[in-house]
Structures are given as structure tokens and as C-alpha cells.
């Protein structure tokens, strides 16, 4: 029982890391690309945009967090079910809506609030189930 509780806490912590890293990463990329402006689709425009992205601090912070997302995603899938991690990760949509209201003072439609409530209830339902239902690693040669 203690093992299962530890597994659940470990999985939820890693899913939380996934959600935080993905959202912060996306926001930083968005900030960086907004600073750079619209990219012209031509050889000169693309090379100019590439140079600007390499020199942009927000882009690098975004890449750092998105690497953190990939690492936490790979790590949690090494022990937890895919059908547990995938819907739990959708909690990020709800978090983004709350952040948009709290910090950006955006107005959110009632349809979007219904969506947030459904996501929260769905994640709670999935969260109640066992994080791992397969006992042995799938030893499948590629």
C-alpha cells in the first residue's frame, strides 16, 4: 500500500513538472517570437530570423523548459501508464486559463469555463485510478 502511495505521489509530481515545463516553455517561446516579430519566408528572412532566435534569451529559456518537459515526460512513462499520463497532462489547459484570468486579466467565455471544469473533473477521475496497471516492462524489440 505504501509502495502504491509512493508511486502515485511520484507520478503526480512528475506530471506537475511536465505541465509547468510545457506551459512556461510555450509562454517563453511566444514571448521570444513576439519580440522577433513576423518572420519573412525567404532565404534572407529565414536566416535573419534564425540569427535573432539564437540571440534571444527568452527563446533559450523556452527551449530549456521544453527540454525539461520532454525529460519529465520520458521519465514518467518509464513507470506510469500512458493512459494515465496523457489525460493528466491536459490539466495544463485549465492552468493556462486560470493564469490568463489572474495575470493577464483576460475575459474567459462561459464555454471555456465549462471546458476547464470538465478537464478538472476528468483529471480527478483519471487520478483516482492506479498509475501503473502493467507489471512487467514491455520487452518488445524494435
Amino acid at each position: 500500500m505504501a509502495t502504491e502511495r509512493r508511486l502515485r505521489i511520484k507520478t503526480l509530481m512528475m506530471v506537475l513538472a511536465m505541465v509547468v515545463c510545457a506551459n512556461v516553455g510555450d509562454l517563453m517561446l511566444k514571448r521570444g517570437m513576439s519580440q522577433i516579430g513576423a518572420v519573412q519566408v525567404s532565404p534572407t528572412g529565414l536566416s535573419h530570423a534564425f540569427r535573432l532566435t539564437v540571440e534571444n534569451g527568452a527563446i533559450w529559456i523556452g527551449i530549456f523548459f521544453l527540454t525539461g518537459f520532454m525529460l519529465s515526460y520520458m521519465t514518467v512513462l518509464s513507470w506510469a501508464d500512458y493512459s494515465y499520463v496523457m489525460p493528466a497532462g491536459a490539466f495544463g489547459y485549465a492552468v493556462l486559463t486560470f493564469l490568463a484570468v489572474l495575470f493577464l486579466h483576460e475575459s474567459v467565455s462561459s464555454r471555456r469555463w465549462v471546458g476547464v471544469v470538465l478537464i478538472c473533473v476528468g483529471v480527478l477521475l483519471v487520478g483516482q485510478t492506479k498509475p501503473r496497471t502493467t507489471e512487467l516492462p514491455a520487452e518488445v524489440p524494435a
Binding site: 525529460l71 520520458m74 521519465t75 512513462l77 518509464s78 513507470w79 501508464d81 500512458y82 493512459s83 494515465y84 496523457m86 489525460p87 491536459a90 489547459y93 485549465a94 486559463t97 467565455s109 464555454r111 471555456r112 465549462v114 471546458g115 476547464v116 471544469v117 470538465l118 478537464i119 478538472c120 473533473v121 476528468g122 483529471v123 480527478l124 477521475l125 483519471v126 487520478g127 483516482q128 485510478t129 492506479k130 496497471t133 502493467t134 516492462p137 514491455a138 520487452e139 518488445v140 524489440p141 524494435a142
Partner: protein
Amino acid sequence: MIRVALMLGILVLGSTGGEIAITYGMKATGEPEHFTPRAMLQFLSRAFRNGWFWVGVPLMTLSFYSLLLLLSWEPISLVIPASALSYVVGTFGAKYVLREDVTLARWAGVVLVCIGVALVAAG
């Protein structure tokens, strides 16, 4: 219309197929022994040497480019809600390919998340 449906199919199957392949690879890799930098590097090195990981990456890349293509054809308020189908397709994959025990509660949660994501993305 047909090209949008076809590209949506590539997006959903590419993303779920890629994630299922990566899950296979990660299960075969096994958990990291500790969360120290050294243990995590060893864990990553084992994961990168697993063939299923490299099956998953191109599939996810394919789904990413099909998403970009779809976004250039259709509004985001249509593309993202439609791509929320991945949650249901992925759960079928988890049940029949990965042999996970998808209980009724988990199915109910997945369906609610799927509808919720579609509503949030539609705005």
C-alpha cells in the same frame, strides 16, 4: 474537406502512434535508479539506445508538421478541438497495444478531458 480529414487522421495517428512507441521504449528502458544528474544521464543514454524511441520521434515529427499544415488551412478553433480526438484514440492504443487496464473511471475521465480540451480550445 477530404484533405483536411486526411491530414487530421495523420495528426491524430502520428501523435498517438509516436507516444505509444515512446512509451514502449521507456517501459523497456526502465525507471531511473535515482534522480541525480549522473543517474539521469545514464537513464537518457539507455532510452536513446532503444529502437522504439526512434520509431516514436519521426511519428511525432510527422504529426507536428501535419498540425502546422492544418493550421495554415483551417482556424485554430477547429484544428485543436478536432485534434483532442487523440485522447480517445490514445486510450484505445493504451488498451489494445500497450495492454493497460483502462477502467471505466479512466475512460470516463478521458472522455471528459477530450470534450473539455475541445471546449477550451474553441474559446
